[in-house]
């Protein structure tokens, strides 16, 4: 239902744009802009946790988000970002200034694809250093919490861009950092990605989050 409503509204207002959603077949346009949609991020959390969101980003012809919006209908939190800043319900967001994994909150959602370390291995690495691991099933909401300053890091293990497209600007414009699971820049958000790591931008924290993923299970 959500997917259809969003898709129809975009088609009506931006008939030349491409639409790339998690539930509908990709429709190609000629404008150079692509809308990347996750109609329900965190499906498994529905009715269990107030964390499911709707994610929508407009991507330019270079694969970069121009702006993005993430809405949590349960909490009524509207996260959005333009070229300069990130907001939640109109208030500017800023990442936390915590400098150590110890005491940090790290979201770990979807499973990592091969060849990366298992979630169990990553979980152990974080908790052994005194960090606290959370899994709320909603990848975009997890990353939004990093932008909001409520958490220091979040992983996206999947290769699809449906959540990642909406959180890049949210996190970076709040002062945070985004890379793929190998610590490399994500160049396009309108096609397959190599997972994602969002952090508060503190170098030591981001580098450690990258290193945990590279540890293979024994």
């Amino acid at each position: 239902m959500v997917s259809l409503l969003v898709t129809e509204a975009i088609k009506e207002k931006y008939p030349q744009d491409t639409i790339y959603g998690e539930e509908e077949a990709r429709t190609e346009g000629s404008s150079g802009f692509t809308w990347v949609l996750d109609p329900i991020d965190g499906t498994q959390a529905l009715g269990m946790l107030p964390t499911s969101t709707i994610c929508l980003a407009r991507i330019n012809n270079e694969g970069s988000p121009v702006f993005s919006v993430v809405f949590n209908p349960t909490t009524k939190e509207l996260f959005y970002s333009d070229k300069e800043a990130s907001y939640v319900n109109g208030e500017k967001m800023k990442v936390s200034d915590k400098k150590d994994i110890k005491g940090s909150y790290i979201y770990l959602g979807s499973r990592m694809n091969s060849p990366f370390a298992s979630n169990g291995s990553i979980y152990n690495s974080i908790e052994e250093l005194g960090g606290k691991v959370f899994n709320i099933r909603s990848l975009a909401y997890s990353c939004a919490m990093v932008a909001f300053g409520k958490a220091e890091g979040a992983y996206i293990g999947v290769n699809t861009p449906f959540e990642a497209a909406s959180i890049k600007l949210l996190v970076e414009n709040a002062g945070g950092k985004i890379t793929d699971l190998e610590g490399k820049e994500v160049k396009r958000f309108d096609t397959e990605i190599n997972g994602l790591i969002a952090s508060n931008g503190i170098k030591s924290i981001h580098e450690q989050l990258v290193s945990f993923v590279s540890l293979k299970t024994k």
Binding site: M1, V2, L5, V6, A9, I10, K13, I40, L46, G47, M48, P50, S52, I54, L56, R58, V66, F67, V69, F71, N72, P73, T74, L78, Y80, D82
Partner: protein, 31 residues
């Protein structure tokens, strides 16, 4: 100056999210 495309998108998700909120927030039903 506000970005009209961003404003459209914000309003779209607010409207559709409100319509869908009952389905999205209904209590978990065991199978």
């Amino acid at each position: 100056m506000k970005n009209p495309d961003l404003e459209f998108t914000k309003q779209l998700l607010l409207d559709i999210g409100s319509k869908a909120s009952e389905a999205l927030t209904k209590p978990y039903e065991t199978k």
